[in-house]
């Protein structure tokens, strides 16, 4: 499906300035047809503004929007073949569920509006509530009606603005799977705006991490997680331990030697940006091992805190220079360390990543609240 390039969504230099600040800095982005794309970032990063510009609800200050070869920058919202699932659902309260779903089809004079709307309601498994009013449904059901109302029009691009934000955790997990299933079934381009990194990683093929009106990094979930390009991404997607380190020599056998706090360590060469000497050396908590079997990179410290979370145990290990590393261990039956115990923490060279040290180490920390 992604091989057909006629329906790709292209943003070129798309910019939005409000009176006092720039919400979206000039943005270039191509979203392939049929992909599930996520715009991820903390609130105020410009992701919703970007979405609203694609929907035609906000006029860009500069830049162009194309779907395939057709430019839609100046097309009115109601003339764009783009539909939105709103955060608040925005279901029409005076219409039945079925009438809500038929709305878009009827505006375009579709003769089979009723049949198609019923089919869409079946798709979201709500066929039996077609006659009810939205207010009679639960939040999760309303969310699915909003989805059916948009999907039924088979738009070129379907926009989802934090569609699961109002649901509780369990329902959210369920809907994430459901959304992914529906997207694969109908094969439309989905653009999903969210501040929930787990949600983005679960569903999207490609994620653009946004920060302060710019895309920090674009890639598939695994790449973003394993090889973040900035400290913001490293911290915003999951947790990262960042150590100040210096590159000490050229790569040998695909590994770059570095020194952190007088300890010689190594990082996989393709995880190090070119031409940078001072770096943040990052390792994900679950890549660290208690003991020496994790790999040749070793640090010694004292356990200061142990918290049991069920599937895993999370340790805080204080390093001689005062910083604490977070280590997450699977509860695989091995002995648990106790607070006060002196331990060795180890990891393999390919589990580390290096980032330019000119960035703030705490960018993106705790921003999702």
């Amino acid at each position: 499906m992604a091989t057909q390039t006629t329906g790709d969504l292209k943003l070129s230099g798309l910019t939005k300035e409000f009176d006092t600040f720039t919400a979206v800095h000039p943005m270039d982005l191509v979203i392939p047809q049929g992909s599930f794309f996520a715009l991820l970032g903390p609130s105020g990063c410009g992701k919703t503004t970007t979405l609203r510009m694609v929907a035609g609800l906000e006029q860009p200050t500069a830049g162009r929007i194309h779907i395939g070869d057709t430019e839609i920058t100046d097309t009115k919202a109601h003339q764009r073949n783009v539909n939105t699932v709103f955060q608040s659902y925005a279901l029409f309260p005076h219409m039945s569920v079925l009438e809500n779903v038929e709305f878009g089809l009827r505006r375009r004079g579709d003769k089979n509006a009723v049949a198609k709307a019923k089919e869409a309601l079946e798709l979201v498994q709500l066929g039996e509530v077609a006659r009810k009013k939205p207010a009679q449904l639960s939040g999760g059901m309303q969310q699915r009606v909003a989805l059916a109302r948009a999907v039924v029009n088979r738009p070129d691009v379907l926009l989802l603005d934090e569609p699961l934000g109002a649901l509780d955790l369990k329902l959210r997990r369920q809907m994430q799977i459901e959304l992914k299933r529906i997207q694969q079934e109908v094969g439309l381009t989905f653009i999903h705006v969210t501040h929930d990194q787990e949600e983005a990683m679960t569903m999207a093929d490609t994620i653009a991490v946004m920060n302060a009106g710019r895309i920090e990094q674009l890639g598939d979930p695994a790449t973003l997680y394993e090889r973040p390009a900035s400290t913001f991404v490293a911290n915003f997607l999951g947790q990262s331990n960042l150590l100040k380190a210096t590159v000490t020599g050229p790569a040998q056998n695909g590994e770059v030697p570095v020194t952190a706090y007088d300890t010689a360590l190594t990082v996989a060469a393709d995880h190090v940006p070119d031409g940078v000497k001072e770096v943040w050396l990052g390792v994900r908590p679950e890549k660290l091992r208690m003991g020496e079997h994790g790999g040749p990179n070793r640090l010694h410290g004292t356990v200061t805190d142990v918290s049991f979370t069920g599937v895993a145990t999370q340790y805080l290990v204080r390093m001689p220079w005062g910083r604490e590393l977070t280590v997450v261990q699977q509860n695989d039956g091995s002995n648990r360390a106790r607070p006060g115990e002196d331990v060795t923490v180890s990891w393999a060279a390919e589990h580390g990543f290096a980032l330019d040290a000119s960035q703030a180490a705490d960018a993106g920390v705790e921003e999702e609240g």
């Binding site: 609800l57 109601h78 539909n83 709103f86 309260p93 005076h94 948009a150 029009n153």
Partner: protein
């Protein structure tokens, strides 16, 4: 765990829910009910009985159960009754046409000017109804600038041609009475409209646009139906008092524009034919109740005000 639960269970004995004040709702209802009984129910009964009495002011009235007075009243005054409904209906439609855009603007677009505009809508109430209507006599006076302007653009000729005025001026005409009614009851139209449009979520209109509805279609399918409760409330609050009004037709009209309220007024206070006046009051009341019931059924809403 079960033991712990048992301890908690016995530790805090279940307190009986206190049956606190079953009389409270009645006590809260009482003043209003009393008011309605003394100032509405009793006068209605008196008025009803009055309409079925015969006699005159000097010798006193005797109850005779003379129902035929209703037939007489309708026969003599049906043109006034119809005229009242016609004028009030026209004024209501005009008030809706003027009030809806204003209320929409205030509720959805005015932002921080909202409150100031609301005060401006209510401001005329600071002067008496009578004074305001008298002011219209000055505004529309024959040698005033308004008439001169209306004449110069041919507006007076147009009004004359369609029968709203009888000469080349504005005052003392159907036109002036309907203008007066529209003006005087406009706030009663605007306020309920404002209240229901204020509750309208602008995101619904956005969603309609997103679902291929042109701005016109979005208004027709979303904004208008969702503001219907306000439309119904506003039209009722305008139509009902306008249909019984007796000030506008007296101050701004002529002998051809007499409305039923004016007739009742003069029967009660000048002719002193109490039974006829009482009967006319009841006819007006019944007529309005029937029309309003029909209208509300038609509008299909129970969410009045």
């Amino acid at each position: 765990m079960a033991e712990g639960a048992a301890v908690v269970g016995t530790g805090a004995p279940v307190r009986k829910p206190v049956r606190r004040g079953r009389w409270v709702p009645y006590a809260l209802l009482a003043p209003g009910l009393l008011w309605l009984v003394v100032f509405f129910v009793v006068p209605m009964i008196t008025l009803g009985s009055q309409s079925l009495q015969e006699g005159n002011i000097d010798e006193g009235y005797v109850f005779t159960g003379n129902v035929s007075i209703y037939a007489d009243a309708v026969q003599r005054y049906w043109p006034h009754l119809l005229r009242s409904v016609g004028y009030a209906g026209t004024a209501t439609v005009l008030a809706l046409l003027l009030g809806y855009p204003l209320a929409y603007f205030m509720a959805q677009k005015a932002g921080r000017w909202k409150n100031i505009l609301l005060i401006l809508v209510i401001a005329p109430f600071f002067t008496s109804f009578l004074i305001r209507t008298l002011a219209w006599r000055n505004i529309l006076s024959d040698d005033g600038p308004v008439v001169a302007f209306a004449q110069s653009i041919g507006f007076t000729s147009l009004l004359q041609a369609i029968g709203l005025t009888s000469n080349d001026t504005l005052l003392a005409s159907k036109f002036a009475v309907i203008c007066g009614l529209t003006y005087n009851f406009l706030p009663f139209m605007i306020l309920p409209l404002y209240a229901s449009l204020e509750r309208l979520d602008p995101r619904l209109v956005e969603a309609a646009g997103d679902l291929y509805a042109s701005p016109r279609e979005a208004f027709r399918r979303v904004t208008w139906p969702l503001s219907l409760p306000g439309v119904v409330a506003g039209t009722l609050l305008t139509f009902i008092p306008a249909a019984g009004d007796f000030i506008n037709s007296r101050l701004l009209g002529n002998t051809e524009t007499v409305m039923i309220g004016q007739v009742i007024d003069s029967q009660f206070l000048r002719v002193l034919d109490y039974p006829l006046a009482a009967a006319l009051s009841f006819i007006l009341l019944t007529m309005i109740v029937v029309l309003v019931t029909f209208y509300v059924r038609k509008a299909g809403t129970e969410e009045l005000v």
